[in-house]
């Protein structure tokens, strides 16, 4: 098993931390993992993306241009990465702020209304975990017990009280997945 993922959105939407939680959880599950961020001006409010690879085998290139899954959180990232999903692959996106929806017919496309749902729950910072939930429902590459360990590892201890809320958000994401185009 090798899952090559791109997560992309605005800086501040939790793109890098979502990737980090995935990578830590994979590592806890004894998988090979790599987490390669875009770094630099993006961190200060522009677009931000991270390539996460989870595999049973040794990982070769940590930087990629074709992905099994793209998790897209804004229009710029949709424009940039829709065509980077491998044929037969998966695109999950948050429809909030998307004006030009994806049109490809050779990949599976799902919406997860992470932003809207997180506001409904009263904490905008949970939107990335809701998106992650949608992904894990479709591709259960991480077992729930290891997701918890991943959260414990990737969050500083002072934030550990937030772990139950994050786990709940993942469950919410699994429930609000909307299929747009399914292969």
């Amino acid at each position: 098993m090798t899952e090559e993922i791109i997560i992309a959105g605005f800086g501040g939407q939790g793109v890098l931390s979502m990737g980090k939680i995935l990578a830590y959880s994979g590592a806890m599950q004894n998988k090979e993992v790599s987490w390669m961020p875009s770094y630099g001006p993006e961190m200060r409010g522009g677009t931000s993306n991270v390539t996460v690879i989870i595999s049973d085998e040794r990982i070769n290139s940590p930087t990629l241009n074709q992905f099994d899954t793209a998790i897209i959180l804004n229009q710029q990232s949709m424009d940039k990465f829709e065509n980077s999903v491998k044929p037969g692959g998966l695109l999950i996106y948050d429809p909030n702020g998307i004006s030009a929806h994806p049109t490809r017919k050779d990949i599976s496309i799902y919406q997860v209304a992470g932003t809207d749902k997180s506001l409904e729950l009263g904490n905008a910072r949970l939107s990335n975990m809701i998106m992650l939930g949608g992904f894990l429902k479709l591709k259960p590459v991480i077992n729930p017990e290891f997701l918890r360990k991943g959260l414990e590892k990737s969050l500083p201890e002072r934030h550990h009280k937030l772990i139950p809320d994050n786990e709940k958000a993942v469950e919410v994401g699994k429930e609000i997945l909307v299929p747009i185009h399914v292969l």
């Binding site: 980090k20 590592a27 090979e32 987490w35 630099g40 990982i59 290139s61 930087t63």
Partner: protein
């Protein structure tokens, strides 16, 4: 002790490797994309635990000269920076090489020339292996391609530096510095005592006992006859190093007809290209130099008798390609594919070039 696995950035692995291998001192000045090294050292605060000094100097010039001073005392000292900062250190590096002192310098290369970009690059190859400073000197150069190697090569670098009394450069780049991967870390090793240094490195300035004369550390000789002797000694040392310290690895070269040559993060990307090529029925393999100096000339010459063409892939306009061409003595055509200025080549675009060979 059970194996301890951590998930870290390449930069953090450099810092962790330094603390755990018994490094005595780090002197550096922050610069992207390697600031996490100083950040991690500061957060870990090793001084109470191991006695390792971590100091943010006022500049890169100061850093390298602090390293010069520490090295003269037989201490395991290091600095790290990225391309523009490493340029500022060239005078110091030449002095350290001239004075035959062991030291470790890490360059997490970014796009140039000039202040350039903060994204990954490999355009400092010439500066590193052809002598960025003045005079006939060499830096033993290690090119890590994973976070594990970032960790491991810190200790290896110190070992080689002391074995040859020569500065060692760890030539990395923004990809390997920024990527997070699993790392197996070792136990904390104690720092060397002054007694150990005096016994094993008798050239070091540890205080003069009555039983011997002064130790003098200098790179200055006023008499050219003496300076020529210094150079003879350096060249003899470099020859031994070339015979004994070449490191490289190969991927699927057994039946290869096309050979990729790449180091560092480019080598990781090229492993993907080998996979794509093999899936398409192309007999392609990869040679990855681990030491850039001394360069793996012999294995390349051997492979040149087997393959019909060679492609070097570098994040530069083509620098290592010159050493590859020298190594294979024009037996096969050698071509270059590169991206510059902070752009990273994709596996697919290299694969497209591969198909034209």
């Amino acid at each position: 002790m059970a194996k301890e696995i951590k998930l870290m950035k390449g930069n953090e692995a450099i810092a962790e490797g330094a603390i755990r291998c018994g490094c005595d001192g780090y002197f550096g000045y922050p610069i992207t994309p390697q600031s996490e090294i100083l950040e991690h050292l500061t957060l870990e605060n090793p001084y109470p635990k191991t006695g390792m000094v971590v100091l943010q100097a006022e500049s890169e010039t100061a850093s390298i000269n602090m390293v010069y001073g520490g090295a003269a005392c037989g201490k395991r000292v290091m600095t790290t920076s990225s391309s523009p900062g490493i340029s500022l250190m060239q005078e110091g590096l030449s002095y350290i090489a001239g004075a035959e002192l062991p030291a470790l310098v890490v360059n997490v290369v970014r796009g140039g020339p000039g202040l350039g970009t903060i994204q990954p690059s490999q355009a400092d190859y010439f500066q590193t292996v052809k002598g960025g400073g003045h005079g006939d000197y060499k830096l033993i150069t290690l090119a890590p391609a994973s976070v594990q190697e970032m960790y491991d090569f810190v200790e290896l670098g110190f070992d080689l530096a002391f074995k040859y009394r020569n500065p060692v450069m760890l030539l990395s780049d923004g990809v390997i510095g920024q990527v997070m991967e699993k790392v197996e870390v070792g136990d904390y090793k104690p720092r060397w005592t002054n007694e150990y240094i005096a016994k094993n490195h008798p050239w070091a300035l540890v205080g003069k006992p009555e039983s011997r004369g002064h130790n003098i550390i200098t790179s200055l000789q006023l008499d050219p006859v003496v300076q020529e002797k210094v150079n003879h000694k350096l060249q003899a040392k470099y020859k031994v190093c070339e015979e004994n310290e070449v490191r490289y690895e190969t991927f699927q070269t057994e039946d290869a007809e096309i050979l990729l040559v790449a180091y560092g993060s480019s080598a990781r990307i090229c492993q993907k290209v080998v996979q794509l090529g093999r899936e398409a029925g192309i007999k392609v393999g990869l040679l990855r130099p681990i030491t850039l100096w001394p360069f793996p000339k012999k294995p390349l010459l051997e492979l040149s008798k087997q393959v019909k063409s060679i492609l070097t892939v570098e994040m530069s306009a083509g620098q290592m390609i010159e050493d590859v061409k020298l190594a294979v003595e024009c037996r096969v055509p050698v071509q270059h594919y590169g991206r510059y200025g902070g752009m990273i080549p994709t596996p697919t675009e290299i694969f497209e070039v591969l198909k034209t060979l």
